[in-house]
């Protein structure tokens, strides 16, 4: 008659661990969001230029690689704030641990900076180059050399940027996906999901700035595609959990019938994905004037996804399972 009863009385009260794991607060979602965003910007800017065989024409478009450098620095700043022993941050760069996604990430981030810098310098217009040359003063010859290199190797640099961006995007998901102790995270879908989300938020960021008409049009198409892929991957992730064992279902319940359900559906699925998808499609079909609200929703949705997945995942400890 009565279902099986399980009552566990725990003597452990370690802060940050009990009653549920809350080791990672707002800093890690901020970092994952900004990392994904920058990954999306790298992939999209490179893809756009490779597709059109022409550099960005607007000043805002040319500035975006440098903006991305700022954003990834902000993200790393958030990650730095999360460290319990900040002085030891240099330890990340004294070793490389092949099994640790975080180690991979630390090194990928080191590649992101020069790649973005080369991508940005090579994409500048003559006017902007002149302005920059006047600013750097004594470093002028160095700048000239770097710029000559960036121009000569433009296409390889763009392909590298795309690859590094994709790696960065996948890594933000894999960081969580490889942690098998948290059932919600432990999925191979996590990497592609966060990459897709990164591309859509990256597109949203680019849609917020002034680009030429054709670039805007292409980006709306790619954004729509990324949102579609993201929705599909989310469905795969949740279906995998729902059809899994009882522990997996408990994990799925955090998003489908628990603490985080209303936020997940309203901010991520409906507000962050479905509504922007419809707005994008309507914009493309009917040639409506674009609105900033669509990218704003995508950005809010992308950040909400990171925050919810990080929070809900920590809630799905092995220890909590029946």
């Amino acid at each position: 008659m009565n279902p099986q009863l399980v009552e566990i009385t725990h003597g452990r009260t370690n802060p940050g661990i009990d009653p549920v794991l809350h080791a990672w607060g707002w800093e890690v979602p901020v970092y994952l969001f900004l990392g994904g965003l920058v990954a999306g910007v790298m992939v999209l800017l490179a893809a756009l230029e490779l597709k059109r065989r022409a550099k960005a024409t607007t000043p805002a478009g040319q500035a975006m690689p440098f903006v991305a450098i700022g954003l990834i620095s902000l993200g790393m700043g958030a990650l730095f704030l999360d460290l319990a022993h900040k002085v030891h941050v240099y330890r990340f760069y004294l070793s490389f641990e092949a099994t640790s996604p975080m180690s991979w990430g630390a090194w990928i981030l080191m590649i992101v900076y020069p790649v973005l810098l080369l991508q940005g310098l090579g994409g500048l217009s003559d006017g902007a180059r002149g302005w920059l040359r006047a600013k750097v003063g004594g470093l002028g010859t160095l700048l000239d050399r770097v710029q000559a290199f960036a121009d000569a190797k433009r296409r390889p640099i763009l392909w590298t940027s795309m690859a590094v961006g994709a790696g960065l995007g996948v890594y933000t998901g894999l960081l969580l996906g490889t942690l098998s102790a948290r059932l919600l995270w432990n999925s191979a879908v996590m990497g592609p999901l966060f990459l897709a989300s990164g591309v859509s938020t990256g597109a949203a960021l680019l849609l917020c700035v002034k680009l030429d008409h054709e670039a805007h049009h292409t980006l709306v198409r790619w954004d729509t595609l990324a949102i579609g892929v993201e929705l599909a991957l989310l469905a795969v992730l949740l279906l995998g959990l729902v059809t899994g064992g009882s522990a997996q279902q408990v994990a799925a319940d955090t998003l489908l019938g628990g603490r985080y359900t209303p936020y997940f559906w309203s901010l991520v699925v409906v507000g962050g994905l479905a509504v922007p998808l419809v707005l994008n499609v309507v914009e493309m079909r009917r040639g409506l004037r674009p609105t900033l609200l669509t990218p704003a929703l995508v950005l809010i949705g992308g950040f909400a996804l990171r925050t919810l997945v990080v929070a809900a995942g920590q809630y799905t400890s092995f220890g909590l399972m029946p």
Binding site: M1, N2, P3, Q4, L5, V6, E7, I8, T9, H10, G11, R12, T13, N14, P15, G16, I17, D18, L21, A23, W24, D82, L83, A84, H85, K86, H88, V89, R91, F92, L94, S95, E97, T99, S100, P101, M102, S103, G105, A106, L175, T178, L179, S180, A181, R182, A247, Q314, S317, F318, G319
Partner: protein, 182 residues
């Protein structure tokens, strides 16, 4: 027998444990565990269908896994497998990124107020001197046993050969080395 061929393990007899918390206090005293934190702890579990209920009391700690996810997750090599399979954290290498905490299915790790991640060490400093871990020495019901699994005559090997036992969360695939006699 050379050092490297040892495999330390702990065997915990749930039939004997009364949940007195002596192991917890001994550990705190021995290892200077800061106020409000613990490296080992007592779990009381009641299962069944009312009115048929079964209770079990366990003294739990880091499982010193054979395949420790925390060591895999550590980006700096601070978490490592030391002598006898004991999983340790090198304080000077630890950045406090908490990846190992998130990776542990047993939630055995915590952030020490001094900024590094801390956990049970099987009292390796005592073991190297030929002593037993602090928790084992104080257990009034002798429900804790420590020894080398590679030695067939050790306490732990004989208990595991003769008694029924289980490990926590075998589905996590971590090859835990704290065994519970049932």
């Amino acid at each position: 027998m050379s050092k490297t061929s040892r495999r330390y393990a702990m065997v915990m007899d749930t039939k004997k444990c009364v949940g007195c918390n002596a192991c917890v206090l001994a550990c705190k005293a021995e290892n200077n565990v800061p106020e409000g934190f613990c490296r080992d702890w007592i779990v009381e579990e009641v299962r069944g269908t009312f009115p048929k209920l079964q209770a079990e009391i366990r003294s739990e700690r880091c499982n010193h896994c054979g395949d420790p996810p925390c060591v895999d997750a550590c980006p700096t090599g601070a978490s490592h497998i030391a002598e006898g399979g004991v999983v340790l954290v090198t304080h000077d290498k630890c950045t406090g990124c908490k990846a190992c905490i998130a990776s542990c299915p047993y939630d055995a790790r915590f952030v020490h107020p001094e900024g590094y991640v801390d956990k049970c060490t099987f009292c390796l400093h005592r073991v190297q001197k030929g002593q037993l871990p602090a928790c084992v020495t104080v257990c009034p019901t002798r429900s804790l046993h420590f020894g080398d699994l590679n030695d067939p005559d050790s306490d732990v090997s004989r208990l595991l050969a003769t008694r029924k036992w289980k490990v926590q969360h075998p589905e996590a695939g971590t090859d835990p080395h704290v065994f519970f006699l049932v």
